[in-house]
Amino acid sequence: MLPGFGLTLGTTLLWLSLIVLIPLGALFVKSAALSADQFIAIVTSRRALHAFALSFGLSLAAACVNLVFGAIVVWALVRYRFPGRRLLDAIVDVPFALPTAVAGIALTALYAPSGWIGGLLAPLGIHVAFTPLGIFVALVFIGLPFVVRTVQPALEDLDAELEEAAASLGAGRCMTVRRVVLPTVVPALLTGFTLAFARAVGEYGSVVFIAGNLPNVSEIAPLLIVIRLQEFRYADASAIAVVMLMASLLFLFLINGLQRWTALHTESGR
């Protein structure tokens, strides 16, 4: 029996409470000061509902794009050997490491009507920067590594014999991928999708520059919290934040469940 259990666990619980649990508790206490009617009025106001719809809707759309292209990137990285593969692998982590504000202004500069990409799209009548489409682009940027880094180990672990068996039993390549490979990586795909979705819902830094931030048009929920804070309407900010936090907790439980499922899946597959 090693020493220090009581001391280290006590310190950890105390520190966790001081930095994370009590501050988050303050959020619930603040919004509990509102009556139920007031709370509902705040979170179902037209502006709040629009912000929620925008945040959740665009995050869902971005997570879908990341799911498809993330899977393609993983397939290329795991299954093929080609020059520049390691570089491509390293590039995937850039959105993890690049500060969100830097990503925000870079994407804005690229997609503004005078930018490298925005300039090409503007004659076609497509405007990205300062529209909801711009928010979508930023959310795709920050979500990609979550899908790739979750699915990559699952595909690496996939037993090659399964595919050989399928092929030797006469299954075509398409059928093997659809009926053998896909089912084994589904839990990892879903986990990555949920992680990207959860991250996108709360994202602020990379979005605010490119969004345009028009109320009821391109205003995301985290921005509405900041605006309410700047107006000193703390209770309003807290009510919206509580809804976001509850969504985060839901995602967290979902992700935990999915990860257990993934672990179960990879073990039984061996």
């Binding site: 830097v102 490298w116 709360g202």
Partner: protein, 310 residues
């Protein structure tokens, strides 16, 4: 596991040092590293199409913004770039960022190691809940991370009047910025240490203790050397996030140029006042930090993989 794939056995016999270990054990470790191009190979057309789509997507969404940062930073020439970086407000922002990162990395390292010791070396009820709570800050929007400290320490917050009475400034000052940064970087060090320390078990520590070493000596001479690379990995990621954090810090900082603006906030201030080249010049430093972080991370991963194999 049934029969070993022939390719793996062949490779084993080609390596002289493999003789000292069982073939099966080494093959099991090496299996995931071997390329799988031989099984169920896709037609070359499919292969190159997939690679092209992957590279195109990453190029468009990730490489191009990165190139854009450096391109825009030098848009007005090198002299303007240098002027932007030596501006007093920029220097102040760099200083504040370094101070905040140093505080949050130091604090999270100490408590990360303490937390990892409790979680990895002992069995107790509610451990999974504790791990979930420690990782909670990753799931919380950065804006909410800032908001909660305003609710506690702001002028209209629960402790605000008391703090004001004692002339202590937390919000719109360094303590608030540090607190918000510690919140968002809370899980980084623990989550790297716990899996490794669990895997290493308690045998070596117990041996040291039975030979008469004190608890602290055991920790510094046995446990710490065993986890040093994982610790460094956690510190690296913690530092990158601490220096780059925007949302949480933005809420608590107050945005006073030359005083409470960190580098990301200074980027925003410059950008909002249409000093685009200067904003990108400061951004280029942060982008460089990100690239250095990724290179060191890759080196550490190689080192960690080697250690877990040996």
């Amino acid at each position: 596991m049934s029969a070993l794939p022939i390719a793996e056995v062949m490779q084993e016999t080609a390596l002289p040092e493999a003789l000292s270990e069982s073939v099966a054990a080494r093959a099991a470790i090496q299996a995931p590293i071997l390329p799988r191009t031989d099984v169920g190979a896709d037609p070359p057309a499919v292969k190159w199409l997939v690679i092209a789509v992957a590279a195109g997507f990453l190029g468009l969404f990730i490489v191009l913004p990165l190139v854009c940062v450096f391109g825009q930073a030098f848009a007005n020439g090198i002299a303007a770039y240098a002027a932007a970086l030596t501006d007093p407000d920029t220097l102040s922002a760099i200083r504040l960022t370094l101070i905040v990162a140093a505080i949050s990395v130091a604090v999270n390292t100490v408590f990360g190691v303490i937390g990892a010791w409790a979680i990895a070396k002992f069995e107790f009820r509610g451990k999974n809940l504790l791990i979930t709570l420690i990782e909670l800050p990753f799931s919380v929007s950065p804006v909410i991370a800032g908001l909660v400290f305003v609710l506690l320490f702001g002028l209209q917050g629960y402790l605000g009047p008391w703090l004001a009475g004692h002339d202590v400034k937390v919000i719109f000052a360094l303590p608030g910025i540090a607190l918000a940064t510690i919140f968002v970087t809370f899980p980084f060090v623990v989550r790297e240490l716990v899996p490794l320390m669990q895997q290493q078990g308690t045998d070596e520590e117990e041996a040291a203790l039975s030979l008469g070493a004190s608890g602290l000596k055991t920790f510094f001479r046995v446990t710490l050397p065993n986890v040093k690379w994982a610790l460094l990995y956690g510190v690296l990621l913690c530092n990158a996030r601490a220096m780059g954090e925007f949302g949480a810090v933005s809420v608590v900082s107050g945005h006073v140029r030359g005083a409470t603006n960190t580098m990301p906030l200074h980027v925003e201030a410059l950008y909002d006042s249409y000093q685009f080249a200067a904003a990108f010049a400061v951004s280029s430093l942060l982008a460089l930090l990100a690239l250095v972080t990724l290179v060191v991370k890759a080196l550490l991963e190689t080192r960690l993989a080697k250690e877990s194999r040996s």
